[in-house]
């Protein structure tokens, strides 16, 4: 076991109920149920609806994962669970289930940080993480740059969004353009047809003055407002909105800032690797632009496949397995769910 701990990971921080099983850096199962469709008509995640869905999906996902991995739960070395950050009521369902699993099996429990798990998951795809890397985590709830010297113990925030998360900006702009929720993939698709006209949308926190105080921070709410104004003006003049072009220019603005700051962070910290995670990492333009810019500075980009970028149980299991391998202390039975768990806390 020492080198390849068999770990079950549980994730319920938002609207996905994920149960994953890994053995060391090998993914054995990744069962996921999502309540995203139940939230779609509200244009955002409704916490109580998500929590109810987690309760119903939990045991089926545990059973599906153990069948898929073809392992007896008795053989696992530990249980890991997202303890935060996330929606409090949703986190609690996962934490309670993980405790029930661990105490029934007599195995150690690790309550872990969701953001560290988004970084650790890359080990399942590209093997052990380098000594030092910068992680760009971009999802519906987060947009942060982290300096990761040890994903099990030393994770330091370099910067984060000061308003909307990147995925949130994608979702809001999609709504404005009449595209369905969640909007990221729809904008990505629409943008492929766009680019005939280029709209000059603002790049938040990139002026010299902003860079002094917010070198590694992001801001997307000004961009969102600029897009809204542009679309409104068009509509008021009775002109059609060129959805594909707006999507392409908006996406370019987001990806431009994200990659510019991420590469700058790598150079400033001497990190030779950039790991990108979170739902927005699925964005095709972000991947291309990151590769292009990083390559100029001999920085390697690691992006796991899209299924591992969005919230899932395997990422929690991946981090759990690394914690066991390094002999880290497990959590206590009174582990709380912490909706605002600081990024520097890897294990609660």
């Amino acid at each position: 076991m020492a080198d390849d701990p068999l770990v079950v990971g549980i994730e319920t921080s938002c609207d996905e109920t994920g149960v994953g099983i890994v053995q060391g850096n090998t993914l054995l199962a990744d069962a996921i149920a999502s309540s995203v469709e139940e939230h779609a008509r509200f244009g955002g995640v409704v916490p109580e609806v998500a929590s109810r869905a987690h309760l119903e999906a939990m045991v089926p996902m545990i059973e599906r994962a153990s069948a898929e991995a073809d392992v007896a739960l008795d053989d696992v070395d530990a249980i890991a669970v997202t303890a935060g950050p996330g929606l409090a009521g949703a986190l609690l369902v996962g934490v309670a289930a993980a405790k029930a699993l661990a105490l029934s099996l007599g195995k150690p429990l690790y309550g872990v940080n969701h953001l560290s798990a988004h970084v650790a998951v890359d080990q399942l795809e590209h093997g052990p993480l380098p000594e030092r890397c910068v992680a760009l985590l971009v999802s519906g709830g987060h947009s942060s740059l982290l300096l990761v010297d040890d994903v099990t113990a030393a994770v330091e925030p370099l910067g984060a969004t000061i308003d909307d998360a990147a995925g949130e900006a994608f979702d809001k702009v999609a709504r404005l353009l009449g595209l369905p929720f969640p909007g990221g993939p729809h904008i990505d698709n629409a943008a492929r047809e766009g680019g005939h006209i280029t709209l000059d949308f603002p790049r938040g926190l990139t002026s010299n003055r902003d860079l002094e105080r917010h070198r590694f921070d992001f801001s997307f709410s000004g961009l969102k407002t600029a897009v809204a104004r542009w679309v409104e003006a068009r509509e008021q003049r009775g002109e059609p909105v060129p959805v594909a072009d707006v999507a392409a220019s908006f996406q370019e603005a987001v990806c431009d800032v994200l990659t510019r700051k991420a590469v700058d962070a790598c150079r400033a910290t001497g990190a030779g690797h950039l790991v990108i995670g979170g739902g927005v990492a699925a964005n095709s333009r972000l991947r291309v632009l990151a590769e292009e810019r990083a390559a100029r500075h001999q920085i390697k980009v690691r992006v796991p496949r899209p299924a591992l970028c969005t919230d899932n149980g395997a990422m929690v299991a991946a981090l759990g397995s690394e914690l066991v391998r390094r002999g880290r202390e497990p959590s206590a039975w009174d582990l709380p769910a912490d909706s605002s768990m600081p990024v520097t806390t890897v294990v609660a």
Binding site: V46, M58, A100, L105, G140, G141, A160, D334, P336, S339
Partner: protein
């Protein structure tokens, strides 16, 4: 060997029953920490009974009605333990658990705290048999001059002038009720009684 618990009120209560009597128990009253307290409570009750999880043959959980977040902690714990240990899981209405502890010889009501100035409640006859479906209502709607058990009776004396014990469900009562085969068994599904509040989707803010 039966493990019983209830998290539908401010009490996080656990008991282990060996078929003839309660052999271990643990209870704490704390309205906001069910998620933290249940697992240690289960460990403590099992330890007190010198029983390991593997020896359990059945799990019983109070299915509310009660505040959703705490209620789910109990139910997901019961379901997960049942699935992992391969033992059956059953539910019991938590108001019935409070009713077991009521020691009066006349009809009574059980009213627990539903927050938002409401109670979860039901009526019982003198022998403790439930006469109404569990419901959520304003205290004035559920008002009763006779004996009233549960935290709701303590909170709203205008509507329930004769508050009687117990104030909270006790898992030992739950375990005895099921052990004696006198419980009205339900599937382990939460009695929410209220629709989710969908007014405000979660603000997706950075937490850093």
């Amino acid at each position: 060997m039966l493990l019983a618990f209830d998290t539908s009120t401010a009490a996080v209560t656990v008991a282990v029953h060996d078929g003839s009597s309660v052999v271990g128990s643990h209870a704490v009253v704390d309205p906001l920490r069910h998620g933290e307290l249940l697992a240690p409570g289960i460990v403590a009750a099992l330890d007190a009974a010198s029983v390991s999880p593997r020896q359990l043959t059945r799990i019983v959980v109070g299915v509310g009605p009660g505040p959703f977040t705490g209620l789910r902690v109990g139910i997901v714990t019961a379901r997960t333990m049942g699935a992992v240990l391969g033992v059956p899981v059953v539910g019991v209405c938590s108001l019935d658990v409070v009713a077991v502890g009521v020691a009066v010889d006349e009809p009574f009501v059980v009213a627990t705290d539903a927050r938002r100035k409401e109670v979860y409640w039901a009526r019982y006859d003198a022998s403790g048999t439930r006469l109404s479906e569990p419901a959520v209502a304003k205290p004035s709607t559920a008002a009763f001059d006779g004996p009233a058990a549960g935290r709701g009776a303590v909170l709203y004396p205008e509507s329930f002038p004769r508050a009687v014990a117990p104030e909270y469900p006790d898992a030992s009562d739950l375990a005895r009720l099921v052990g004696a085969q006198r419980a009205r068994l339900l599937p382990p599904e939460p009695l929410y009684l209220r629709r989710p509040d969908v007014a405000a989707p979660a603000a997706r803010k950075s937490v850093l």
